[in-house]
């Protein structure tokens, strides 16, 4: 019987690509306010998709297949993380 699972898709730049937005947030917002405990910030884009599937594993694997099929992320420049939101 199918249920609906909230699945997070996080798209961010590969470590080899600079993330100037993350750098700006760390330098001009966090460090300026005194949070020198922040060593690095990388940004990403979050998509939260509600997926109908038999179970959580099937939901995540459907999402991964879709991300690859639709080029939701550019494999040259991005990494994706797919996880179930609890």
């Amino acid at each position: 019987m199918n249920q609906t699972f909230p699945i997070e898709i996080i798209i961010s730049n590969k470590p080899q690509a600079r993330d100037p937005e993350g750098e700006t947030i760390a330098r001009d917002l966090m460090h300026k306010a005194g949070y020198d405990c922040v060593k690095d910030v990388r940004t990403g884009k979050l998509l939260l998709a509600k997926i109908e599937a038999r179970d959580e594993e099937e939901a995540k694997s459907k999402v991964l297949a879709m991300c690859n099929d639709l080029r939701l992320y550019n494999p040259i420049a991005h990494t994706i993380t797919i996880r179930a939101r609890n």
Binding site: N13, A17, R18, P20, L70, R71, L72, N74, I76
Partner: protein, 198 residues
């Protein structure tokens, strides 16, 4: 220079009955998710792909370049400018390769002036891929000197292996009349006519 051309809305572009295609700049689908990705999924892109596979000249300008990348017709990725600013200025360009359908009328290693106007024009690929692109002559234009977007190795235009598909961030159409500020862009279109003739 007179060229018979039609301005076609993407939903109406259903048949590859042309000698060349140009995908212009803009903000297709609001740049949602990533510039060019949604437009790359339009059925029109499959018609562009047919023209490209037939060896016809296909040019992507700015958003058009982003669309060609997202459609897999050109390699690499175009990321947000490292300055995080929309950069709008005339640039000095170096023509690195004049074997492509849109640079064959330029002298190799000549310079040209054309404007850029974009937020996501930082070309990125891993080092080995960049080395290969340069070695294979697929880097068509670079910025000469100043690099306001942080694009890898100053790259601002690339081609596919056969040289008929080119993507460029600068706007040649905005540099094709002296009233606009320059005419170096005209050679891009003259090249296309020359290539289509052969």
């Amino acid at each position: 220079m007179h060229i018979d051309a039609e301005l076609i809305w993407h939903n109406d572009f259903t048949s590859p009955t042309f000698d060349a295609a140009i995908i212009p700049g803009g903000f297709s689908f609001g740049d949602h998710l990533r510039a060019g990705i949604i437009a790359a999924a339009s059925p029109a892109t499959e018609i562009v792909r047919k023209l490209a596979d037939d060896g016809k000249p296909v040019l992507g300008i700015c958003n058009g370049f982003q669309i060609l990348i997202e459609a897999g017709l050109l390699p690499g990725a175009l990321l947000r400018n490292s300055s995080l600013k929309f950069v709008c200025k005339w640039m000095n360009l170096q023509i690195k390769n004049n074997d492509s359908a849109f640079t064959c009328k330029f002298e190799r290693a000549s310079t040209a002036r054309m404007p850029i106007a974009h937020n996501e024009g930082r070309f990125f690929a891993e080092e080995e891929v960049l080395n290969r692109l340069e070695a294979e002559g697929k880097v068509v234009m670079t910025y000469a000197g100043e690099n306001p977007t942080g694009t890898s190795r100053g790259i601002t235009a690339i081609s596919n292996k056969d040289g008929n598909v080119v993507g460029m961030m600068p706007h040649p159409e905005r540099a094709s009349d002296s009233s606009l500020g320059g005419t170096d862009g005209l050679k891009v279109f003259e090249s296309m006519v020359e290539w289509a003739r052969c």
